[in-house]
């Protein structure tokens, strides 16, 4: 198991330091790939955009998932498991199929445009809803919803209900009790959900390719092109390594920030 996890990783790092010469059986050690990644602005720009898009996706997903998880945890009496299974129901179909269905919904002749035209709210189809960043965010947020709902649900479910009663007893109405008790106690679930959505979406290339258009391009697409069409594995590996380190750094910075915030709140 450890071998299966570590050996591809070591291999990837190894390849990233070689040079693609076109000749077989010839291995040249080189930093040229990294030089390329850092010198050509497009790579870092796309990487930066990937981080922004994934952050937006993670935020959107959590904002949409929280009410759903809250509803199941606090307002469903009886069969909560059934509700959770119902929520994962769309995820039983293929990921590609779901991305493609968003294309149908957001497209030029898609569901939204047809409906708006039929209602007479617009004269001609809106073209800013597909093939851009928004479409990527919407599609990814939907695709990863279940992964956000579950950890938030678990953290909400774990909250002792008498704590909320105690907040009411001490003079707080429902909104204040939520902000002062329920929300902070569910933060572990929220943080887990943010990371669970953020980390894998950074490297996604299917969704950007299908609904993203030129501006929705993400780092995963570049890696795929390097390994595929360009047949330049060392470059692809170098982009992967840089992207991996960046994601790790971002996550660490995020967790550190949360920790500082917690200490700040604790002192207040």
């Amino acid at each position: 198991m450890v071998m299966a996890l570590i050996s591809p990783f070591v291999l990837l790092i190894g390849i990233s330091f070689t040079l693609e010469t076109g000749a077989q059986d010839e291995w040249v050690l080189s930093l040229a790939n990294y030089q390329a990644v850092f010198e050509k602005p497009q790579y870092l720009r796309v990487l930066g955009r990937s981080l922004v898009i994934s952050s937006l996706v993670a935020l959107t997903t959590v904002l949409l998932a929280y009410p759903a998880a809250y509803f199941i945890a606090f307002h469903v009496r009886g069969n909560k498991m059934m509700w959770l299974i119902l929520i994962t129901l769309p995820f039983w179909t293929s990921y590609l199929l779901r991305v493609f269905s968003w294309k149908l919904i957001l497209g030029y002749n898609g569901v939204i445009n047809s409906a708006l035209l039929w209602l007479g709210l617009i004269d001609q189809p809106l073209d800013f809803i597909l093939y851009n960043t928004n479409a990527v965010v919407v599609t990814l947020a939907h695709a990863w919803a279940a992964f956000a709902i579950l950890p938030i649900f678990v953290s909400l479910q774990k909250i002792d209900r008498t704590l909320i009663e105690a907040a009411h007893d001490l003079g707080e109405n429902s909104i204040a009790a939520f902000i002062r008790v329920t929300l902070p106690l569910s933060m572990p679930g929220v943080i887990a959900a943010l990371l669970l959505v953020f980390i894998p979406t950074v490297g996604d290339y299917v969704t950007p390719k299908m609904v993203g258009g030129p501006n929705g391009l993400m780092i995963g697409s570049l890696i795929q092109v390097a390994f595929g069409r360009l047949d330049n594995w060392p470059l692809g590996a170098a982009i992967s390594v840089v992207s991996m380190i960046t994601v790790t750094g971002t996550v660490c910075a995020f967790l550190f920030g949360i920790d500082r915030l917690k200490k700040l709140v604790a002192r207040a």
Partner: protein
């Protein structure tokens, strides 16, 4: 119209579906009282407490707190605070923040807030514990923090749900006295729920005994213990020997009762029994003595055989079988000056006696 009591509970009922958790309860609680709602689990005492707090809406009836009707007052605006059974200490806040939680709306300047919280910490003898995290507290400390957090709000009534249930025996006994002292010092009306009769007897000014959603009896602890009017209360508080009987005669001194196992018993019972009435005779184990010497008057005696003994340290329980009956009578014998081992042992023939004044007469059933 007579002035209402400080807390007045009028015809309160709470139904959950078909279950009548609280069934037409009337109670009055005076200002500054330490009042216990005592009963077995499921008797409705916690539901009644939660209605006082406003967490449950009564199905019928009205609750007045400080002479004001409460039906329209949401729980977060009521002048009551609660100490929860599990204490409900906020785990993400430290002790200081827990205690200060309810003061947010007062918008106190920081030094005033700190003074108030430190005073509260001193009150519960936890000075300097402000920075402790909730999970660093012991059970007894959590209980004190819950108390301070509620008392700092200066409520008109403090509600306590099984306040000592989660503590071990030694700590519980200590906290019983501390709570009592604390209540006298702050002068706030305490209403607490417990299933532990000893806790209720130790701490309260008055007790209401509940069963199946109804209050069975209420009164000061000694009255309920020494002069219960119902079989339920006689049985629930302490231990009791019961005998079925019928009034055989009455004179100026009291009643003569023909019982199933004690023979003829005389009692100075209340006069609301007439000759021929069926009733239950009750005798506390500690009011039955074993000794060959009996005082001359006002006592009844009966002979029996010790069938079993249970040594409990401070006292020994003797199970004495009477002639013509299998069901033994429980007799409690105080063990003083190391006398635990020299009482009558198994199969010894003994003579039992009790004062007529300690015989209780209860309605049958």
């Amino acid at each position: 119209m007579k002035d209402r009591a400080f807390i007045s509970i009028k015809g309160i009922s709470k139904h959950f579906g078909k279950v009548r958790a609280v069934d037409d309860v009337d109670l009055e609680i005076e200002k500054g009282e330490f009042f216990a709602l005592l009963g077995p689990s499921g008797c409705g005492k916690t539901t009644l407490l939660r209605m006082l707090a406003g967490f449950e809406v009564p199905t019928a009836g009205e609750i007045y707190i400080d002479r004001e009707p409460t039906a329209a007052v949401p729980h977060f605006l009521r002048p009551v605070n609660m100490v929860f059974q599990n204490y409900a200490i906020f785990p993400h806040l430290n002790v200081f923040q827990n205690i200060a939680f309810g003061l947010r709306k007062d918008r106190l300047p920081r030094p005033v807030l700190e003074e108030r919280v430190n005073d509260a910490l001193a009150l519960i003898k936890l000075d300097g514990y402000g920075a402790r995290r909730a999970d660093e507290l012991s059970g007894g400390q959590r209980q004190r923090v819950a108390l301070a957090r509620a008392l700092i709000k200066k409520p008109k009534v403090l509600l306590l749900d099984e306040p000592l249930g989660a503590l071990d025996k030694k700590l519980r006994e200590q906290m019983q006295l501390e709570l009592r002292d604390l209540q006298r010092n702050v002068g706030i009306t305490f209403v607490f729920v417990t299933h532990d009769q000893e806790e209720a007897l130790t701490m309260s000014d008055r007790i209401a005994v509940m069963s199946s959603g109804k209050t069975i009896e209420h009164g000061p602890p000694s009255q309920l213990y020494d002069r219960p009017r119902t079989r339920f209360v006689a049985d629930f508080l302490g231990t009791m020997n019961f005998f079925e009987g019928r009034v055989a005669g009455s004179d100026g001194d009291g009643l003569a009762i023909e019982t199933d196992r004690l023979g003829m018993v005389r009692a100075q019972g209340p006069a609301d029994f007439a000759v021929g009435d069926r009733l239950t005779v009750a005798l506390r184990p500690e009011n039955i003595r074993i000794s060959p010497h009996t005082p001359n008057d006002d006592v009844d005696t009966i002979g029996g055989t010790v069938s079993n003994t249970a040594y409990l340290g401070d006292r020994t329980h003797l199970y004495v079988t009477l002639e013509g009956s299998d069901q033994p009578v429980l007799v409690a014998r105080q063990n003083m000056d190391g006398s635990g081992s020299d009482g009558p042992a198994g199969h010894a023939a003994v003579s039992l006696w009790w004062r007529r004044s300690s015989v209780l007469l209860l309605k049958s059933g």
